[in-house]
């Protein structure tokens, strides 16, 4: 137990040094860094414009009012951007397996998944985070719910949500260990994320059960938002969010270790 704790502490401490190296690498090309981020802002404006145009036309989805829908949408983008910023290198697992770069990570005394994730910092997705914050702030205002507790809760929900998304993508990208080519699974994971964008009760009963209990993406936006709405019936579900997130993450991690055992390596 003491050993385990020490090991975790070591990984946490090292994260700073990885971040530092990543940051310095980004700064090695200052001009692309700036242009990429400017492009990132345009990219996010593109998604905001899409949401905005959509909501100038539709004022409710099912039984949910416009501000409620906006909060759910904003929360899903928030969780997703947190995931995106810190876990983006997961998407390279397939490439690492194909080129054999993963071998390098396996001969170091650190957790391989940690090394994959810590090895790179996203350079152009800060705009998505900004978009999410704007959407959440606006919707909270419309709902008259800009309280400290709500903001704290949204932070917890965002982190939990990012763990849920990360779990999805860990499983999707771990498929590369079996199949080498895993882009289909990666994009499947991206697609599953889309469930979180809209209120979960627009889906049929079967789908709703699946996205609540099997692939719990509904916990990345829909259920946590219920706490802000003060929706008595679903309040308990809302509070379960962090627990569900940790549980699904544990499952995904277990799958990752199993997949790694099947890894063959490439010839060189």
């Amino acid at each position: 137990m003491v050993e385990k704790t020490k090991d975790v502490a070591r990984h946490v401490r090292l994260y700073y040094w990885y971040l530092r190296a990543n940051w310095l690498s980004l700064m090695a090309y200052p001009v692309p860094f700036i242009t990429m981020n400017l492009a990132g802002v345009v990219y996010s404006l593109g998604s905001v414009a899409t949401v905005w145009v959509l909501f100038t036309r539709i004022h409710a989805i099912g039984d949910w009012t416009f501000p409620q829908v906006l909060l759910i949408y904003g929360l899903s983008i928030f969780s997703r951007s947190l995931f995106h910023l810190f876990w983006v290198e997961l998407m390279s697992v397939s490439w690492m397996v194909r080129t054999g770069h993963i071998d390098r990570l396996l001969v170091r005394p650190l957790n391989p998944l940690y090394q994959v994730v810590a090895g790179y910092l996203d350079d152009d997705d800060w705009g998505e985070l900004l978009t999410a914050l704007i959407l959440i702030w606006t919707s909270l205002g419309m709902l008259g719910q800009r309280t400290v507790w709500n903001i704290l809760w949204i932070l917890v929900a965002g982190i939990s949500g990012s763990l849920i998304f990360a779990s999805m993508h860990i499983v999707g990208n771990a498929m590369a260990f079996f199949t080498i080519e895993s882009s289909g699974f990666t994009s499947l994971a991206w697609t599953i994320d889309e469930f979180a964008r809209y209120p979960a009760d627009i889906y049929g009963k079967g789908v709703r059960t699946v996205i609540t209990w099997v692939i719990p993406v509904a916990f990345a936006s829909f259920y946590p938002a219920q706490l802000v709405f003060g929706n008595g019936a679903l309040m308990r579900m809302a509070l379960a969010t962090p627990v569900i997130a940790l549980m699904i993450f544990a499952c995904a991690y277990w799958f990752w270790t199993k997949a790694m055992d099947c890894y063959q390596g490439v010839g060189n």
């Binding site: 692309p32 492009a39 990132g40 996010s44 593109g46 499947l188 469930f195």
Partner: protein
């Protein structure tokens, strides 16, 4: 034609990854479920939005899922100067034109997506009664329009890639692709746009990627307006191909004469 060999080769390559394919099909089905549920829920409170009924909307978005693979952003295009230089040298020593080679190679990939994902999806949607296949003349016009949509989506990325070669920048169209997606009508028909944005979108080439073919299929573009939409597509398609040629030969010349 020798370029069709590239198409065939790329088409067959898709068959190598079976598990990957199952995942892609699963993802496509999920998008259908999400979009169908969303629009059904949206229309629960109203009958018509921006002049579009639920039936036309479902037809537009569901068919949009069927052709989304075919009309998706080409991923295999080289970007960045160094890779381009390598590709161009490669091109110069081969008796094939790289521009057309990429166009046809990518067509193979797009066709694979259409046959392997689009057709099963279409069959399922047709059997469940979600999608109705329009009359033959409409269908024929739709196919022509969709092919022009393909050339547009390819040319957009190709032009962007060649421009990055000339400007030595790393930012390409794929970094701001959400804007293209919005303007192309991938998420919803352009009829949703406010007036000024509609004017902008009507002028730009991107609407020929999704809006025109899907609008024809779903009847959102009124029969009277089909001819002018097709004209818009044709003019832009030709313009983009010509522009690609000019910039492309410029890139080749700059590389051979000035060494890049």
């Amino acid at each position: 034609m020798k370029y069709l060999a590239y198409t065939r080769c790329e088409f067959l390559r898709g068959f190598r990854y079976r598990a990957n394919y199952c995942a892609t099909l699963g993802g496509a089905l999920i998008m259908v479920v999400i979009q169908w549920s969303l629009w059904t829920a949206v229309y629960r409170n109203t009958g018509v939005i921006a002049g579009i009924s639920l039936g036309s909307m479902i037809s537009y978005t569901m068919m949009g899922r069927v052709v989304s693979g075919f009309l998706s952003e080409p991923v295999a295009l080289p970007a960045g100067k160094r890779i381009w230089s390598g590709e161009i040298v490669h091109d110069l020593v081969k008796p094939a034109d790289l521009h057309f080679q990429l166009l046809f190679q990518n067509l193979g990939n797009a066709l694979f997506k259409l046959v392997s994902t689009g057709l099963p999806l279409l069959t399922v949607l047709w059997l469940t009664g979600v999608l109705k296949v329009p009359r033959l003349p409409v269908l024929a016009v739709f196919v022509v329009s969709m092919l022009m949509g393909y050339v547009t989506v390819f040319s957009t990325s190709f032009l962007s890639a060649v421009v990055t070669f000339h400007t030595k920048s790393r930012v390409g169209i794929d970094h701001v692709y959400t804007v293209v997606e919005l303007l192309s009508g991938m998420y919803f028909p352009l009829d949703f746009f406010p007036g000024w944005l509609r004017t902008v979108a009507d002028f730009l080439p991107f609407k020929s990627i999704h809006y025109v073919p899907l609008g024809i299929w779903s009847g959102i573009i009124a029969p009277g307006a089909v001819a002018s939409s097709l004209r818009h597509q044709l003019i832009w398609t030709m313009l983009m191909v010509v522009a690609s040629r000019i910039l492309w030969s410029g890139a080749v010349r700059s590389l051979t004469i000035q060494g890049g």
